[in-house]
């Protein structure tokens, strides 16, 4: 027995040591030209973020001596793997708030800076984890991650309910009110408001289908949804794999107070596809994307969405009678998706790609920022990469934003965070910290979908939610 255990141990050690070189090679590939992975060089971080652990990617870093110096405090690490003690990290961050931490490494001889912003980031981030695939899905779920630590917990997984757990939305980062869409045999929109959870059948006779992309009105009374008749096709050329498109889409607004649906003709126009609704922070404007309807899939590559807006009266739920085009992307041969107004009312961030609305599969997709006061849009070169940048969301203070990027490997979406100062200066983004990122990310086959900030821990009774969703009971939308 002892001999057997000895053999097993030796084999295990051999395997782990032999494969280490490949793992290093993979990590190096992820890092690109950067000597560390993740690339935390010269990034701006919030004062309350979890430790930025990282690894050196070059062999000469075996004997690296790395010193972090911030406001008189100094911490030194030996070796290529930088793993922070949480207490020390918090201390040096607090000491350096509104300043910087200088990082000096002896071998390789390099130095950089960590800019520490006193603007705190929200409590946590919620997201869906799913493999970036085609039509089918394996294990998936909605998770929350505490941003000041490495703690991740599942809110709901598809082992709770047999279905594709899809779009989730909180009201202005509040962890209490939630809209969650589930597709499949147990399809429903799960709505949690004022502590009450209810499963809705959102398909009605007079709407195009199930409610998909939600956005809460700041008052919490209304939720704008798009109803999308979504399909997929697959490319034969290697540079693109999947194309997700709508055969049709409309928008509607659900009044949680009266239980009525507002499907005003202005947001369900014939000849147009409306999608991705988002209320302005004052609740008086509804932004959305709109494209002229075309024959699909023949004209798929010429479907282009503009950023539009319509007035909204929060006291009556009435929608204005004219649609304004805010950014006419189609005129320049581009397409807009995911408009997200900052909560301070200054900006609208959106994704710009070549065509269509499902930008995550478009390598050319980039983030753009629309300045509401000046009416000017600009590409966010500070945060964009050579690969896909797509879904994004603002923190409750509008000082931070999170966005999905495929810059690591071109396929698996990772959440990056960036700071935007009062004056509009945007810092270099940083990847969601992990305890052992050089091991974690290369071994993670899941993409982070729809990252959304929450200001506190989401208390979610998954047993109750599963019971509701697995039952036949559905409240119909009127």
């Amino acid at each position: 027995m002892r001999k057997f255990l000895h053999t097993i141990t030796v084999v295990s050690l051999l395997l782990s040591s032999c494969s280490q070189s490949l793992e290093d090679k993979v990590a190096k590939r992820y890092a690109g030209d950067c000597p560390i992975y993740p690339d935390y060089m010269n990034v701006t971080v919030p004062v309350n973020i979890a430790p930025l652990n990282f690894d050196y990617t070059m062999p000469e870093a075996e004997d690296a001596v790395t010193t972090f110096t911030g406001n008189g405090m100094s911490v030194t690490f030996k070796g290529p793997r930088i793993r922070w003690n949480a207490g020390k990290w918090r201390k040096i961050l607090s000491a350096s708030a509104n300043g910087e931490i200088n990082v000096r490494c002896s071998s390789p001889d390099t130095s950089w800076v960590l800019y520490v912003s006193a603007d705190e980031i929200d409590y946590g981030l919620t997201y869906r984890l799913i493999e970036p695939g085609y039509e089918l899905y394996s294990k998936m779920g909605i998770y929350q991650r505490e941003l000041s630590s490495f703690r991740q917990t599942a809110l709901i997984e598809n082992t709770d309910v047999d279905g594709c757990i899809n779009c989730h939305s909180f009201n202005r980062c509040s962890p209490s009110d939630l809209s969650l869409h589930v597709r499949g045999d147990h399809g429903a929109t799960l709505l949690r408001k004022d502590g009450t959870m209810e499963a809705f059948n959102t398909a009605t006779e007079h709407t195009a289908g199930l409610c998909v992309y939600p956005y809460w009105h700041p008052s919490g009374r209304f939720i704008a949804y798009s109803t999308n008749n979504t399909r997929q096709v697959f490319h034969t050329l290697p540079d693109k794999l999947v194309e997700v498109f709508d055969l049709s889409s409309d928008m509607l607004i659900y009044d949680t107070q009266t239980g009525n649906l507002i499907d005003d003709i202005i947001i369900c126009q014939d000849g147009y596809w409306e999608t991705f609704p988002a209320f302005s922070p004052d609740g008086k404007t509804l932004y959305f994307c709109r494209a002229a309807a075309k024959s699909i899939p023949d004209s798929l590559t010429s479907v282009r969405y503009d950023l539009c807006a319509v007035d909204f009266d929060p006291s009556t739920g009435a929608v204005g009678d004219s649609v304004r085009t805010i950014v006419a992307a189609s005129a320049s041969g581009h397409s807009i998706s995911f408009p997200r107004p900052s909560f301070d009312g200054r900006y609208i961030m959106y994704t710009l790609s070549g065509y269509g609305q499902f930008s995550i599969w478009h390598h050319e997709a980039d983030l753009w920022l629309y300045d509401i006061a000046s009416g000017e849009s600009r590409r966010l070169d500070e945060v964009n990469s050579g690969d896909t940048e797509s879904y994004h969301n603002w923190s409750s203070t509008s000082r931070w934003f999170v966005f999905s990027s495929r810059r690591d490997d071109g396929l698996f979406t990772r959440p990056y965070f960036a700071h935007i100062s009062e004056s509009g200066v945007i810092g270099k983004p940083f990847l969601l910290p992990q305890k052992d990122p050089a091991h974690f990310y290369p071994n993670l086959y899941l993409s982070y979908n729809i990252p959304e900030f929450v200001t506190g821990e989401v208390k979610f009774n998954h047993v109750k939610a599963a019971r509701l969703l697995n039952s036949e009971q559905r409240t119909p939308f009127k």
């Binding site: 395997l15 090679k25 993979v26 695939g133 085609y134 394996s138 697959f234 396929l411």
Partner: protein, 570 residues
């Protein structure tokens, strides 16, 4: 116990081991391979923690550890035989009856578990869980002190629930007579309360937690046979000892008992074993390992008739250059026999992906492989899929993604060497170009015209490849075969080289004659690529059909022709 009685148990254990091993090794080997290809056992702490973080997770981890050796069918058969034999030996330890007849009867629980394994959805972890739990029962029996035994059973029941899953209920049920009644009730209550409590914390439904999360490939399906086997185990272990006097009558009765048990076992296995699936798995396996001649040989023995097996056969015919000549010598079931339609399961798309891969439809191969893996019902990953995904990404030049798959494969026992050697090609354009397979596929795949891939209209994508690579025979043959099987003779003639002078492949000659008939062209004016004998045979065929010859005669005489397919099998 007499001298001879001592050998009853080991002799029966040997019989069980040999019987189970031979069954899985000879009659059911592709079920063994099937299990291995839908898991990816990694030698990492992270993998262990992930797998063992649910009730029954440790047993599942051990089961997966053992299943990785199923890459060799005989190893898998021997492991399966060992598990069933171990259950038999442990049941003998636990059972009340110790006589030879009781020993013979104790074959029944082991046999019941072996019957459970004939279902391809059954996972080895279930048997490991039973073995571990029976081991715990033996450990409880070894405790002499009654109080100590009672405490052990109460304490071990929730612990073994976590280690082995709900079959841990065997512990209180088998120890019912040997522990204090209060301890028995307490342990039984814990066996129910623990899954109830787990359901509040874990993201699994109560039904799964009560019947096993990883005993069966389908998480939400109750493994009925397993629980029948558990019930049988409880009943047989509590049977009183059956003693028969020594002597000839005793020996005869014991022999009759043994024969009866084995007969019931064999007949049950014959009912539960699915040899149709075994055949499909065989075709898929041979296609995976490019055993083209074996596929054609197997089809010669028994005609395949399911889309998976027919498509594997057609691929084998194509890869050996025999498709246009011999495809109608075998049963054909339309274009689904070339490319089985996509279905949301984990088996068919994987087999279809092999066809796309060999024809240079790299994106489609990647798509179908990925989907197959995603559809694995218990959310496991697949060594076969990871390997193919690494290859498709390598050919497509997505080296970071390919590297990611190779990195994971390097943590396995049997895919590691391949992963490490393939990793050397990452980013090395010359090495890939020089590789006999990747180099060829990289040239073959589409470069210029993007198209929307549809599995119901693969011909249009194949035409794009053929336009870029007119010399690629397999692609051209598949296009023509598509039109023939679709009975679209106009499209066939459009893409067929009808200016050729030398005899064409048999199916093409036959199809062209059919086309001439359909368009009322005089059959006497056959083009040079149609041989006289084929034209003669076609005339006879028409005459026989017009005469109203019996179906059996037509099948016997013309069953290997395109005409027969077009008129009778379409």
């Amino acid at each position: 116990m007499g001298q001879a009685e001592k050998y009853v148990e080991p002799a029966l254990a040997a019989i069980i081991f040999v019987a189970v091993t031979l069954f899985f090794g000879i009659l059911y080997p592709y079920h063994i391979y099937h299990q291995e290809q839908f898991q990816l056992f990694e030698w990492t702490a992270g993998y262990f923690l992930t797998v063992s973080s649910v009730p029954g997770g440790f047993a599942d981890w051990v089961g997966r550890f053992l299943t990785q050796f199923f890459i060799f069918s005989w190893a898998g058969a021997a492991i399966t035989g060992s598990l069933v034999t171990t259950i038999y030996l442990l049941v003998c330890r636990v059972a009340r009856g110790k006589s030879p007849v009781s020993r013979i009867l104790m074959i029944v629980p082991a046999a019941a578990f072996s019957v459970f394994l004939t279902d391809e959805r059954a996972l080895a972890g279930a048997l490991v869980a039973v073995v571990l739990t029976l081991g715990a029962v033996c450990a409880a029996r070894a405790i002499r002190n009654d109080k100590g035994r009672s405490v052990f059973v109460v304490a071990a029941t929730p612990l073994f629930y976590w280690i082995c899953g709900p079959v841990a209920v065997l512990l209180p049920l088998l120890e019912a007579r040997d522990v204090h009644p209060a301890a028995f009730v307490c342990a039984l209550a814990l066996a129910v309360i623990t899954p109830l409590a787990s359901s509040c914390v874990l993201h699994y439904g109560l039904k799964s937690l009560m019947t096993g999360v990883h005993y069966f490939r389908y998480v939400t399906v109750v493994p009925v046979f397993l629980w029948i086997a558990v019930l049988i185990t409880v009943i047989f272990c509590h049977l009183p000892d059956i003693r028969i006097k020594n002597g000839t009558i005793g020996t005869l009765l014991a022999s009759a008992c043994l024969i009866a048990v084995i007969s019931i076992w064999v007949s049950t296995v014959r009912r539960t074993a699915d040899f149709t699936k075994e055949e499909l798995m065989a075709y898929d396996y041979m296609s995976r390992f490019q055993q083209w001649d074996d596929i054609v040989g197997k089809a010669g023995e028994k005609q395949p008739d399911r889309p998976i097996s027919v498509s594997c056969l057609n691929l084998a015919l194509s890869q050996t250059g025999r498709l246009p000549d011999e495809m109608f010598s075998f049963y054909q079931n339309g274009t689904a026999g070339l490319f089985p339609a996509f279905s949301r399961v984990f088996t068919t798309p994987l087999s279809t992906a092999e066809i796309f891969w060999h024809l240079g439809l790299i994106n489609a191969a990647q798509h179908f492989t990925f989907e197959a893996q995603e559809a694995i019902p218990d959310f496991q990953k697949s060594g076969r899929c990871y390997r193919r995904l690494a290859q498709t990404n390598l050919v497509n030049g997505d080296y970071a993604v390919a590297g990611k798959y190779l990195n994971t494969l390097s943590h396995t026992l049997f895919y590691r060497n391949w992963a490490l050697s393939t990793a050397k090609m990452l980013g090395d354009e010359n090495a890939i170009a020089g590789h006999p397979l990747y180099g060829k596929l990289r040239i073959l795949r589409c470069h210029e015209k993007d198209n929307w891939f549809k599995d119901t209209a693969v011909d249009s994508v194949l035409l794009d490849i053929a336009a870029e690579h007119p010399d690629c025979e397999p692609v051209r043959e598949y296009i023509l075969a598509w039109y023939l099987l679709d009975c679209n003779l106009d499209a066939f003639v459009k893409h067929f080289d009808s200016g050729r002078q030398s005899p064409a492949a048999r199916a093409y000659q036959e199809a062209y004659l059919m086309y001439m008939l359909e368009h009322q062209l005089p059959i006497e004016n056959t083009p040079p690529f149609v041989e006289t004998a084929t034209a003669e045979r076609f005339r006879r065929f028409i005459k026989d059909v017009q005469k109203g010859q019996a179906q059996a005669f037509i099948t016997r005489t013309y069953g290997d022709t395109y005409w027969y397919y077009a008129l009778y099998r379409r």
